[in-house]
Each structure stands twice: as structure tokens, then as C-alpha cells.
């Protein structure tokens, strides 16, 4: 085990990203609402009576205000949403658990900016129904097992957990099921989680990692890299399965040194071979999404590059360059004992890069 890195977790910090909470009329008086409000009060988040009207605002102002606003409401539909992997891409279909829709962390490259109807953070007060929805699903599944569930696709999987406490409710449903659950995050909010749940082989915590510097420029509200690595080590030491996504990889000057530095930092916190999986994925985006990024974030020079449309309609670096990226960074990860795989790439890139 590495010697230099500490495991001390920084305190929970919600107030940099969340500025207010508004309760929808039909959620008022719901026990889940009261719990959420109590915990938000402890974190100094004030309650307001109505949602801010940002309809006439500039795109930046609207995003900034709405992403700072938690809207507590009831979910009248399912807490499980299907996510289908495009057939042209190596991947698997998943079922997304959604106690929250919308992410306060506001990463510059995040597809949710275009994917969701609006930036507002919808927090579902009745998320205690989520485990029942999963049990019902598993009792009469729409397809053959195994089933893959994720928590953290439509919002960060851990950032609001100190307020929601949704993971302990659903974690054990997967313990003996023919289904897996993956919690995805860029936050360090794992405080007390390890005391509230116990490790099991069907559950894994995955952190998305980016090199220092990149994380401050493009992921301004996420936990800094060191804090994410401490959270990973914290969970590993508690016996949980932990994995990493190095994604999105941006090919700025000196990219290999920066990403190799990231892998080296990972190695200072834990043994890479202890990770359940390590995924590598280059920056990619749906057509037209770059305009949203350019409108919202100035100086996005990394968009001035050779991006071409792939078989799934998303734009990525041209095939030869990303093949080299995977080959070179994959080699670095292997040198440190990790076993990398690719994220959201077609079969021919796996083959080109020597991953098949």
C-alpha cells in the first residue's frame, strides 16, 4: 500500500454549489421533504418560497441560478430509467437510478447541459420508493439478467448524498440479486457511508478522475483530485469495490505527461490493481453540443481540434489519434499494475489500440 497519501476526508461542502432550496407545493409536508430540509438547514442552505424566474436571462445567468437551486418535488413516475448503449459502441445497456435529476457541479463538458429540459436540480422527496421500484423490477425483469444499474448518470451520485441518504436504502437490494449497482461520482462525500452500508460484490463505487489543473478549469465545483483520491482510498480501506474512469481525456499540449501524472497520483493513494476496473475515454460530445459549451464557457480552446462524427453520431478525435491515446495511456496504467479498458468506443478502436 502506498505510504505518502493520507486518508483524511475533507468536510462536506454543499454551499459553494447550492444556494437555495424551493419545495414544490405537492411535496410540502412529505416526510422525505422534511428530512431533506432539516439536513439542508444544517448545511446553511436557505429555503425560498418560489423558483427564480430566469426565463429572460442570458444562458449563463440562467444556468448558474438554476444549478444553484434544489427543487424538492415528488416523482410520480419510476425511479429507474433505461439507458441503451448504441449498437455501434462496445458497452452494455444500463438502468439509471434517479433520486435526483440535474447536477449542481456544472462541469464544462457535461452533456446534461443539453440533455435535460432545464438546469434546475430536481430532488425527489419520495426517493425512499426507489428500493421498492428496484425490487419490483428484479421480480419481473424486462430482459434476462444480469442487470446493470447506475446511480450518478443524471446527477452526481454522491454530492447530495449527505442530504438525501438514498444509497443506504437501495444498496442492500443488490446484495444477492442478479444485478449490479455502480455509484458514480466526482465528489468526496462518502462520510459515514462506510458505517451505514457494508461491502458486497454486486456494488462498486466509481470515481471519474481528471488531472489537477484540468479539474479546476473544467470541473470547478467538483472535489479536487486529491480529495477524490482520498475518498477512493477511504472506501477501499473499508472493503468496498472501487473503480476509476479517466474520462474525458482532453488532448491538450502535454496531455500524456498530465495523465501519466494522474496515474502516478492514483498510485500514491492506492494500488491500481485493487481497483475493480479502470476505464479510459476521450472527450466526446453530441453534434451541436459544442455551441452550448462555447456560449457558456469562454476560451474553450480544446474545441478547436479535429473532431469527427463516429458511428453513434457523437464527435470524437479522429480515429488514429485516439487509438494512440489509448495505446500510450493504457501502457502507463499497466506499468502501475492497472488493467485498463475503454469507455464508449466502437469495436474497431479496441482492436486498433490493442485492447482485444
Amino acid at each position: 500500500m502506498p505510504e505518502t497519501a493520507g486518508t483524511r476526508l475533507k468536510d462536506v461542502n454543499l454551499s459553494d454549489a447550492v444556494k437555495r432550496v424551493v419545495v414544490d407545493e405537492e411535496a410540502r409536508g412529505h416526510p422525505g421533504t422534511e428530512s431533506i430540509l432539516d439536513r439542508l438547514e444544517e448545511h446553511g442552505i436557505p429555503r425560498e418560497d418560489s423558483l427564480p424566474d430566469r426565463s429572460g436571462d442570458s444562458i449563463n445567468k440562467r444556468f448558474r441560478t438554476e444549478k444553484q437551486t434544489l427543487h424538492v418535488r415528488l416523482n410520480r413516475g419510476s425511479f429507474i430509467k433505461p439507458w441503451e448503449s448504441p449498437p455501434s459502441i462496445v458497452g452494455r445497456d444500463e438502468w439509471c437510478l434517479t433520486p435526483v435529476e440535474g447536477c449542481p457541479l456544472d462541469c464544462s463538458y457535461c452533456y446534461l447541459q443539453d440533455y435535460l429540459d432545464r438546469p434546475l436540480i430536481q430532488v425527489f422527496a419520495n426517493h425512499s420508493l426507489m428500493p421498492d421500484h428496484v425490487r419490483e423490477f428484479l421480480a419481473d425483469p424486462p430482459e434476462e439478467p444480469p442487470h446493470f444499474f447506475s446511480l450518478g448518470e443524471l446527477s452526481d451520485g454522491l454530492f447530495l448524498e449527505p442530504v438525501l441518504e438514498s444509497i443506504p436504502k437501495v444498496w442492500d437490494v443488490f446484495r444477492d440479486a442478479e444485478a449490479k449497482i455502480e455509484i458514480r461520482s466526482k465528489s468526496h462525500h462518502v462520510h459515514e457511508l462506510a458505517e451505514k452500508i457494508e461491502p458486497h460484490p454486486s456494488g462498486v463505487f466509481t470515481w471519474t478522475l481528471s488531472p489537477s489543473g484540468f479539474d479546476r478549469r473544467n470541473e470547478m465545483l467538483t472535489a479536487p483530485l486529491e480529495d477524490r483520491l482520498s475518498a477512493m482510498r477511504h472506501m477501499l480501506e473499508a472493503g468496498f469495490r472501487v473503480s476509476a474512469r479517466i474520462d474525458p481525456i482532453l488532448l491538450e499540449d502535454g496531455w500524456l505527461d498530465r495523465y501519466a501524472g494522474l496515474v502516478k497520483k492514483m498510485d500514491k493513494h492506492f494500488d491500481l490493481e485493487d481497483l475493480t476496473f479502470i476505464l479510459l475515454g476521450v472527450f466526446r460530445f453530441p453534434k451541436g453540443f459544442d455551441r452550448t459549451m462555447e456560449k457558456r464557457f469562454s476560451n474553450r480552446d480544446f474545441l478547436r481540434d479535429e473532431f469527427v462524427e463516429g458511428p453513434d453520431g457523437k464527435l470524437r478525435y479522429a480515429r488514429g489519434r485516439r487509438t494512440n491515446v489509448y495505446r500510450e495511456l493504457g501502457e502507463v496504467v499497466r506499468e502501475y499494475g492497472g488493467d485498463p479498458n475503454l469507455c464508449m468506443e466502437p469495436e474497431y478502436v479496441w482492436e486498433d489500440a490493442g485492447f482485444r
Binding site: 479535429e306 479522429a318 480515429r319 466502437p346
Partner: protein
Amino acid sequence: MNRIAGSQTVHPEKLPGVELLDACRNPEDSPAKLEPVWLRSSESGVEPVWVPPGFERTGEDHEALVIEASGQPGWVLTLTLWNRYGGPDPVETGRVLEYLDGEGDSRLLELLDLPNADEVLAAYRQFPDLPPPLREPLREEELSPRLFRYLQRVPDELELDLIDLLAEDTRVLSVQEMRRLSEALRRLPPDKYDDFRNGIDYPGEDRSPRSVGDSVLERARRLAFPEVAERREAYERDRSGLDLDGRIDVEAPDNFEGDYIDVSLRCRRDEDLEKLAEEVKKCRKLLEHV
């Protein structure tokens, strides 16, 4: 955005106002957190281009950021910074338009049919820089507002070159070509701008607008998509070297993102099919490209 030249300590009482902000922003609309003061260096010292509304103009010295000198008008920088700090709200936008609309350019804004304040402001910001050969056709509806809109997506540094080109003859680029060109130029890294500029030919006696448009577009795409261009050339070289029967078409996947080639045959008789099927074996070499 202009380069930051450094920072400087200023005394708030000695800071003059920012004309555009003072005219268009309600000083009571103070942001919760004080944003930095921005200055621009000039021959006579520094001039403020952004001072947060509600900034307390009394009290202690304040650290301000300094943008290096440039030829851009101060109000362009103010709008740029304003957008950086959230952009004008609708009321402010109206005030900005009123403030800038000294020459009756509202008609032009209507023609542009732009959907939101940011773009309207961007258009407004760029309109004064347009040379008369473009300005008049746009105002007179001879130049497509849509084409102008694609022009807006071109990086600032290349925009004037394209305006010069369009000013020569507005038939150089169709709207569709302008769309593809603006997409390529948005991808172009700044270190290739000179290459692009140096390759622009202008219409003349021996160059039709059509051929100029083709060559500009081709050059931009080659510079913006070098790997795909190189792969395409290598593929075409091998493809033409096969000397295939004219009734066989072989297509590589778009952008070479794929692991197969498409082969199509045009047959009328059994004998055609047999002959072409034999000929298709030559295509084996093209599989190396996917």
C-alpha cells in the same frame, strides 16, 4: 478574449466610470459577491472596462486585472466581460441596444432574426466592423442573414479575411458552403490560421466565385481535419491504383470511422455478376484502410 497583462492596485475613488455599464446597468443590482475590476492599458495609463455594479467607490485600495492594449473599442471589451459575468439581462439588453443604436440599425437586427440576447449582442458587436460592401447588401437584404449568421461562428481572428472574401463577390460561398466552412474553421487550431489565410484566392478574371468557394472550403477542411484528409488521400490513391471496372463502387466509411468498406455492383446479366465478383477481389487492399 484579450490577454491579461497583469494586475494593478487602484484606488476606487480615482476610478472613472465605464460609459456603457453606467448607461445600461442599474447600480443597485449589485452581485452578491464582488467580481474583479478590469482595466485596459493604454498610452495614457489605464482605463476601466469593467467595474462591478454596486462597486463601492470609496475605501481601501483594490487589486484590478489589466488587459493588454488592443485596438478594440472599449465598449466591445465591456460587453465581452459583461457576458463573462452572466451577460446583460433583458432590461439591460434593451438599454444596450438603445445605447448603441445610434445609426438606425434596428432594421438589421430584425433581419438577422436571432433568437436570444447573446447572439443579438454578438451581431451588434460585429456589425460596426463590417466593411461597406457587406454592410449594405445585408441591410438591403441582398446578403442572406443566415450566411451572416454562419459568419459569426467563425473565430474572430479569421472573420475579417472571410469578410474580405465575401466582399469581393457574395456568390463565392453558398449558405451551405458557409455552414461547412464555419464548422471547419471553428475546429481550426490558431496555429493554422496563417496557413488558411495565405491560401485564400480572390475571384477575378481567371477565378470564378464558384471555384474560389470550392478551394477555400477544401483548404479549410484539409487544415481542420488533417488525419481524415490524409486517410482519404491514401485511400483514393489505392482505390484508383486498382483500376476497377467502372460498374464497381467502393466507399470507405464516413471519416474512416468503421470497420468495413461498402462495395456496390451494377449488374444486368449473370455474366456481369460473375465478372464483377471476380474483379471485387482486387478491393482486398482497401480493407487495410478500415
